[in-house]
Amino acid sequence: MRSLKQFGADFGWPRIIIFFFLVALFFAAPAVGVRVDASLSDVFNRFGQNAFFVLALVPMIQSGCGLNFGLSLGIIAGLLGATLSVQCGLHGAVGFFGALVLSSPFAIVFGWLYGKLLNKVKGEEMTIAMYVGFASVMFMCIMWLLLPYTAPDMIWGYAGKGLRTTISVENYWFHILNRFGAIRIGPFFSFPTGEILFVIFGAFLMWLFLRTKTGTAMTAVGSNPDYARASGISVDKMRIISVIISTMLGAAGIIVYEQSFGFIQLYGAPLAMPFTAIAAILIGGASVKKASMLNVVVGAFLFQGLLTMTPSVINSWLQTDMSEVVRIVVSNGIIIYALTRKTKVSK
């Protein structure tokens, strides 16, 4: 009994409950006519699509900047990279990695400015970050219309200028990662090997980075900025580095997402993306001050599993479309739950 309690406390009851809920959904799925193999395939695919966003939150949490509600800024950098890659007519792997490379300068500049702003509002980072995210998305709504893109695949047909709200990447780099070494079992199940490998590679780099001198300094800054300063660390510089890394990962994240999803979504689309990522890392057991790779992987998997399974099972059961409502209730509910008890970290 004692050890069960201890296990619950260590692993976190919310995670355990969500895990069993997810298992229950898988068991319930056949009963309402949802295929388990198709669902599993979906879960893996969505995990790969979204894990980078979750990973992007880690550096800022570690450096004490809190949850990156302004991840939209990184997503915008990624969208700029993706659209530029299409504009340049880059195809296949070159197109995908070209988009990553093209988005980096934007992500670095945005992250640097965003980091400087966050250094001015210490203690209020999360509130400010949210408005930075919202404002930048709205600003880009104007810019997507004005920027001089000319590729016919991207601009409005009737006006001959301005970018469309959704741009297909089918002819460019659709499923470039998902297809790589994909394992197909039957007509409904496909394992996106390339995408998962890419996520593992990203998580490994982050794991390694957090163990370097700079990564260690960053964690110390988040843990106790006064201690770090007394040890000769520039607190502001470390925080800016963490914001830049987070923004770059956000940019990479949206490009990974697009190659799997098949479309570049512009205008209001990046608005809500940070929230799902934040809900995922919090489910994973991270706190506002500490996050590990385990939190990222467990969180992304549980949350995406929940988002995939809940709507499909409930929709089939109730015979009505509740998916969006369920998604919003689940993700915001988790954020509220986690933020109100933000001190406790699960192992």
Partner: protein, 538 residues
Amino acid sequence: METDKTLLSLQNISKDFYGNVVLSDVSFDVKRGEIIGLVGENGAGKTTLMRILFGMNVIRDTGGYHGKVIIEGEEVHFQSPFDALDAGIGMAHQEFSLIPGFSTTENIVLNRESMRPTVFNDVFGDRMSVLDRADMKKRAVATIAKLGVDLDPDTLVSEMPVGHKQFTEIAREINREKTKILVLDEPTAVLTETEAEVLIKALRTLAASGIAIIFISHRLHEVIEVADRVVVLRDGVIVKDTPVADVTVRDIASWMVGRQVTVERDEESVRTFTEDIFEVSHMWVDMPGETVKDMNFTVRKGEIFGIGGLAGQGKLGIPNGIMGLFPAGGDVRLHGKQVTLNEPRMALQMGMGFVSEDRRGVGLLLEESLEWNIAFTAMQIQNKYLKPVLGGLFKVRDEAAMRTLTEGYIDILHIKCTSADQKAMELSGGNQQKICLAKAFAIAPDLLFVSEPTRGIDIGAKRLVLDALHKYNRELGMTIIMVSSELEELRSICDRVAIVDEGRMTGILPPTADLAEFGLLMTGERVSKTSKTEAANG
């Protein structure tokens, strides 16, 4: 003593904070029109005594006090400072409680303003009265005249020199008609000498009008000048209660610091050092509450140099300024090379280490393991405890080396913990302090600053911490500058002890010097020439 003249009588006052006795059996009387000088070191219990007298909540919240407070023959039990005000006790605080945007007059009569009824009073009652500014000013001027100082009733507090703020604060207290007892906590600390003289004259005038004054000060010559009687508190006990007429500053100083315990100095009594390692000249540090104004001293290679002084006089500002944690200026040299100030990294790279007095705030990563706490600074400054991976592409933490290092210190310093990856927050104060020392030792500094190393830890741990410092000094020749409020501690371990007062060094004494000498230096009194030269030679 004539009972009818006794205004306030404190009888057998005792107070402990959760078993830690701060006042024990304190009794004294205050007569009408008498000025009592209350002196004592920091922590002697002065503030607690005044808090009891003033009915502060903190006393009741921590279990109340024992003994009686008797005002004009009647025992009183104040529930809050308001009761104390009603009973006629006024208190001028060390930090001014004035409203900066209000004028002198408005501050003096605050909440007791003169009112003039208006036509609306008939309908809405007294709340519709307006301020009678002419009368307010008249009352303020009368109060200022009673003090006998020169104070413009219309100046805004924010635009006043600090001395005038002090007068305004006192004027506000005596403006209350009931005020019979006035408590002044360090009223002259912020004043210039001439202002202090004016204040002392004003206090004499006030006392002549029948108000009793309790005057708390570290400036002993002022106490002698103004007080009729001096009460000396030491470690919660009244050690002396005597008329001022026949005492000298030197007497009071030795009563203040003199303790029964003898200084234990083992082995060699006087060590001699020749080579200078560290020079400070004209240094200032802007550390809130611990301002350093014009600091000059030289430390010799291999010695333990002690810096003492009362709280708030700037002794803590010295290490914090040199290590770059607070804005500082001036010329600081280590091995003859100039130290870049305001850059913690530079100070650390030059070979200086620092154990902060703010253990939990600055000294530790409370949520991280002991390994992190001890190895972090060495890793960041000296690139130690890193190993290459992926063919040298990255350098990552060498956890094994960090563990070996930490376990080594756990052994040497007898740190009580479950393992090297226990969180620092789970350790007791004394063991946390040892972690802070280990962190500083790990960078093997040439010069180590230790600030309040024994604050808030128990006696056994104190001994271990001091022994560790002693050991590193003797065995590795580490030069140590130790800043502490505990004079006895400084005298037991240091080769020379400097005393800081009002941001300046008032003198350097050998640890064996007479206690009274230290007391005099701490209170900023002049020290005899002979002992100064002795120290300089020693």
